[in-house]
Amino acid sequence: MPDSGIGAAVKRREDFRFITGRGRYVDDINRPGQLYASFVRAPIAHANVRGIDTAEAEKAPGVVAVFTGEDLEADGVGSLPCGWVVTDKHGEPHKAPPHWPLVRGKVRYVGDHVAVVIAETLAQARDAAELVEVDYEDLDPVVDLAQAGEGAQLHDEAPGNLCYDWELGDKAAVDAAFEQAAHVTKLDLVNNRLIPNAMEPRAAIGEYDVGSDSYTIYSTSQNPHLLRLILCAFVLNLPEHKVRVVAPDVGGGFGSKIYAYAEETVCTWASKKLNGKPVKWTAERSESFLSDAHGRDHVTHAELAMDAEGKFLALKVDTKANLGAYLSSFATAVPTYLYATLLAGQYATPAVHCNVRGYFTSTAPVDAYRGAGRPEATYVIERIVEVAARDMKMDPAELRRKNFIQPDQFPYQTPVALVYDIGDYEPTLDKALEMIGYRDFAQRRAESEARGKLRGIGFSAYIEACGIAPSAVVGSLGAGVGLWESAQVRFNPTGSVSVFTGAHSHGQGHETTFAQLVSEKLGVPYEQIDIVHGDTGQIPMGMGTYGSRSLAVGGSAIVKACDKIVEKGKKIAAHLMEASVDDIEFDGGQFKVAGTDKAKGIGEIAFTAYVPHNYPEGVEPGLDETAFYDPLNFTYPAGVHIAEVEVDPDTGETKIVDWVAVDDFGKVLNPMIVEGQVHGGIAQGVGQALLESAVYDDSGQLVTGSYMDYTMPRADDFCEFRVGMTVSECTHNPLGVKGCGEAGAIAAPAALMNAITDALGAEIDMPATREKVWRHAQAKLKAAAE
């Protein structure tokens, strides 16, 4: 195995600074003359704002300004946009009510932004925020998704609180298949709402420079260029070339830091208003709970039609999706194009239809969270397939095997728009069955029962679409942006390399893997390569990191830039060695004249490019290339997770006793980092299935607004995860890679719930709390005793 190139388990170089407290996060940055913002947030879920009295707050010590929605309106500040237009069943665009950074006349969820107080110290800002008097006229909140259509009206623009009623797939074909079915399995599911809980809370500093009439925004963003685009083009109407967005070290995002939020918008706007005083805001943890975009939150009814042998004939899915009070940046796409398009799963089901109704409710906005739509799709498919196996009294592994798309069917056109380029599902299943010791499960179950415990096993054969995305494809579906990535590879005269990438690392380890990639491509020692990211002032362009796209799209852009470097290097090398360019071969950092022992190292070529004393005519000096890459298709990581659990019927505690994950991520650059991503993803998936749930009470108050009530998974909730790999390389990107960042979170919930429901012999919804499990375990024992 190589020690630093592609395939090497190189330790993450960024970890030294992270684990020794030397990281530099937004809150570590303090600008001269900086002021502090504290937001006045709605304490109730739905109300008219009859008046805001800021007089007392303005008089409080240290207060520089108090702003409300009126001030922003007077200045022409726009609405925070949703960047994806979903066209509904009737050909109409989704309902797009405005989302003002500070409310205008109405609050729509607890935590909504009513006013901002800016003061010399943080304590002064917070003290004064309590002095802002808001006159609310209470309105009925809309909390329950299932009843959202009948509830009070949140936005004038959206009758019945409906954002869209959308469908995908051939309904007639599905209906016809159901007519023919020998058996139909039906299932109702809730996909519980989650709160992202990145370790680092969101933070922002807005800084206007009067002298140069330009802005610098420090933000906990996963995509600094995208944030800049949204703020400039839609919200603040700023000239893009006068705005620099810096996203330094960012402590996790899981999607929640993709979006343009009210807070960075207001800090930026206010800095100009206050003559260039920098304005800083850092979320308290309770603000994160209330106002970070939440994830998931679906209610679904699904039906699977089969023939007598268990061949899938058609799948029918009806989903209500909670979008929250306002549309966050990509909210509309998550329960539609990132969800319904995945409902074929790994199966050759000939017909699939999905109807999705997206509703506004008086809760925090909902948007992409690790997996974004694909965990919800996997949960529907893999739960109903498991239940179908139970209904049909078939082995769940064999029922899956029977329905897998076969290797000779690739490229495979699914009935829900996607074309899978490659996959090889059976070997993955076989490997997982082997690793878990499936054959001996009955024995293990008997042994557990002898100890008074209930044992269960559960499968999840997931597929996802990563590496988003071909710009033309997403454009045709309503996306407002292109989803390419850019890279710049710059040799310095001394032979070291600076790589500028538009992808952003907030836990993924890009500084390591991207350096491995460039080291392999250019034959430059790993130590001499630096990866620069997170600053629009340094990186040419970018779209950022989400949807497991960084390597598949950003890495491919780096490969293209490296190729350009080599191409140019060949010209210089040919000149130095007095050979024809066509005869130059590049390998392992050496330009060689084919068939001779003449060679020049790439370092010498780089030096020559910057000290071009003896240089080919017509070739520009310098060795510095930029490339853009627009993917040709999504990538399709797939795999099989198997969970084994033991339930204590006395208490309802579920112990995860074994977990096997066999994933096909295509080519793997750094197996250690990939395994880490799988572990982290499973941990979040287990969190969703077993522990986490955002609960609002009937009045719209967030009950789980702190770690006293929102249950994060901890190390002792898990067993050791056993990870295996199979490899079918992606056919359409130059690296053959697929993406691994979300797979665990996509696969895990279904595997775990299938195992728990297997143990209980009853269907329950997530999270499988101890009380819920206890009640069903007791019922099972009682039934067995009778």
Binding site: D650, L691, V695, Y707, M712
Partner: protein
């Protein structure tokens, strides 16, 4: 956090005086409840009287057939203390199961019982072991100390000095922890003494209490089966999104059995 005056007296008297001097003064022990509450602006004491400078409030000693623990002794100190470990291992184990290492290194016995959080662990020990709480004014029997939700028999100006735990013949604490906070959803301390058996329960109700039916059954037969057939009523028990009253009532039985099994060794 709102502004406040900070005091660090070095005697009990000075602390009591400072406390009496201002109606809105509050004592500060380990700060594990006090400080988060202040940070969230849910409390605004005018004065904070830090007890950490008073030497006599800290430490563990043996007193006849009892172990006396000073109010300012941290959970970590109790968990590691040789006297506690040899005389009342159940108490050491309970202390070792509170929160996380940071909390155990700061949080104190006095702060915990004065706060009387319905989900705190120590109240089960105070009630279950039949302890006596010594204050700067008097001695209060365990059965009289916990009055209600976050409410004790302590009067204004009164502060906990120490707690006297009689050494039991056998005892054990079984905790079913809260999934998020890891406080007790239900915690049961079972203790067998020369005089009988005590069962102290925390987490289940607004305030720690004794389960006398279990005590009687166990006095006759200190074995888990003795608890068969005793059903705990859900009336008046706590219920929330993590555990209904009915579930808590059931768990009291399960945890009591587990404590008996552990106490029997």
């Amino acid at each position: 956090m709102y502004a406040f005056n900070y005091h660090r007296p070095n005697s009990l008297d000075a602390a009591a005086q400072a406390l009496a001097a201002n109606e809105d003064a509050k004592l500060l022990a380990g700060g594990q409840t006090m400080l988060p509450t202040m940070k969230q602006r849910l409390a605004m004491p005018s004065d904070l009287i830090d007890l950490s400078g008073i030497a006599e409030l800290r430490g563990v000693c043996e007193d006849g057939d009892a172990v006396v623990v000073g109010a300012m002794t941290t959970h970590a100190e109790v968990a590691a203390n040789e006297i506690v470990r040899s005389k009342i291992p159940a108490l050491a184990k309970l202390a070792d199961g509170i929160g996380d290492p940071q909390v155990r290194n700061r949080g104190t016995l006095g702060g915990s019982i004065a706060n009387a959080d319905p989900a705190a662990d120590y109240p089960a020990a105070v009630v279950g072991l039949g302890a006596t709480v010594k204050t700067n004014k008097r001695e209060i029997a365990a059965d009289d100390f916990f009055v209600g939700l976050f409410e004790t028999a302590l009067e204004p100006g009164e502060l906990v000095v120490s707690v006297r735990f009689p050494v039991p013949e056998a005892a054990a604490y079984a905790k079913f922890d809260h999934p998020a906070s890891r406080y007790a959803i239900v915690g049961v301390m079972v203790a067998r003494t020369g005089g009988g058996v005590r069962v102290g329960i925390t987490g289940a109700a607004p305030s720690a209490f004794r389960q006398t039916e279990m005590e009687q059954a166990l006095a006759g037969n200190f074995a888990p089966d003795a608890l068969d057939g005793i059903s705990v009523s859900a009336d008046g028990l706590n219920g929330d999104i993590h555990a209904s009253a009915e579930y808590r009532a059931h768990l009291v039985g399960v945890m009591a059995k587990r404590a008996v099994i552990a106490a029997r060794g």
